[in-house]
């Protein structure tokens, strides 16, 4: 029990420190690295909550694959330091104030809620809770539709990324080169010149 508490505070401080680093560091490259630290600390918290499979997926998919994508784009766009706002710190202070108000409100909502189970560790759970086998069984039985929709969403995102990032000369699609016939012309015959 004591071990769990120590681990919670270490991982929690790591997660908060990583999150603050993401927001406060001026160089986007360092922000990405702070997010990696944050995600690993979060994976430890997931383990404390007995979400073994999710912790592994967090480290492998998020801290591994997605962050590599971020590092590539930060290197491609140029990890230049962000200039400060020209209008001074007014907007920044307003944003921080809004976030503080949001936190106070959420904390009041959590602490003041009459949900008695919030003050317990939770119900007794079987040993296989959160294991890959259990998650897989749920995904293929109760949540099959969500699983399929998620795979379709990933496909759409992949196609969208290719469309967004492909090389284009300008705003319009390039004119077809002479001698190239479009699929429409191939089917319906060559286009006739418009008669006056």
């Amino acid at each position: 029990m004591l071990f769990e508490q120590i681990l919670f505070f270490i991982a929690g401080i790591g997660a908060i420190g990583g999150a603050l680093g993401v927001v406060m560091l001026r160089n986007p490259f360092y922000s990405v690295l702070a997010l990696v630290a944050h995600l690993i600390a979060l994976a430890v918290l997931f383990l404390l909550l007995r979400a073994d499979f999710l912790a592994a997926a967090q480290v492998v998919v998020y801290a591994g694959a997605v962050m590599v994508l971020y590092v590539f784009v930060a290197a491609y766009v140029g990890g230049s330091d962000e200039p400060l706002r020209p209008e001074g710190a007014g907007v920044g202070a307003l944003g921080a104030l809004f976030a503080l108000a949001l936190f106070v409100e959420l904390t009041i909502a959590v602490v003041g809620s009459s949900l008695g189970a919030l003050d317990t560790t939770g119900r007794d759970i079987p040993a296989a809770f959160g294991s890959p086998g259990e998650i897989g069984k749920l995904l293929l039985t109760d949540f099959l539709v969500a699983f399929e929709v998620a795979s379709f969403l990933l496909l759409v995102a992949a196609v969208g990324a290719v469309v967004l990032a492909r090389k284009r000369r300008g705003l319009e699609d390039p004119e077809p080169a002479p001698g190239v016939i479009s699929a429409h012309e191939a089917i319906s015959g060559p286009k006739e010149p418009a008669r006056q």
Binding site: I16, V61, Y62, Y70, V91, F103, L118
Partner: protein
């Protein structure tokens, strides 16, 4: 550990992410802050799933992870497209979305 500890921690991380989205100007960092907010949501879902002794919340968190990955791919694609067109990488300068 009591569930409320985890939920308050998740609220704190969510607010840090919200502050970042509101104050930063680089779209790359704004995407990173969105990741923070989504992850805070996942943490709350998993904490409640542990509290209820039910694994449905973990499936929710998994789907959130999928949606976050899609959002990253599209967002980074937009940033790369902005860079290719030599547009300023600054959300204040990019106030309208056209072609």
């Amino acid at each position: 550990m009591n569930t409320s500890w985890f939920v308050v921690l998740s609220a704190f991380i969510f607010c840090i992410g919200a502050a970042g989205v509101l104050t930063r100007r680089s779209p790359l960092v704004i995407l990173l802050c969105l990741e923070l907010m989504l992850n805070a949501g996942s943490l709350a879902l998993i904490a409640f799933s542990r509290m209820a002794g039910n694994q449905d919340g973990q499936i929710f968190a998994l789907i959130v992870m999928v949606v976050a990955a899609c959002e990253v791919v599209i967002g980074l694609g937009i940033i790369v497209a902005m860079y290719r067109r030599r547009l300023p990488i600054d959300v204040d300068a990019m106030s309208e979305l056209r072609g």
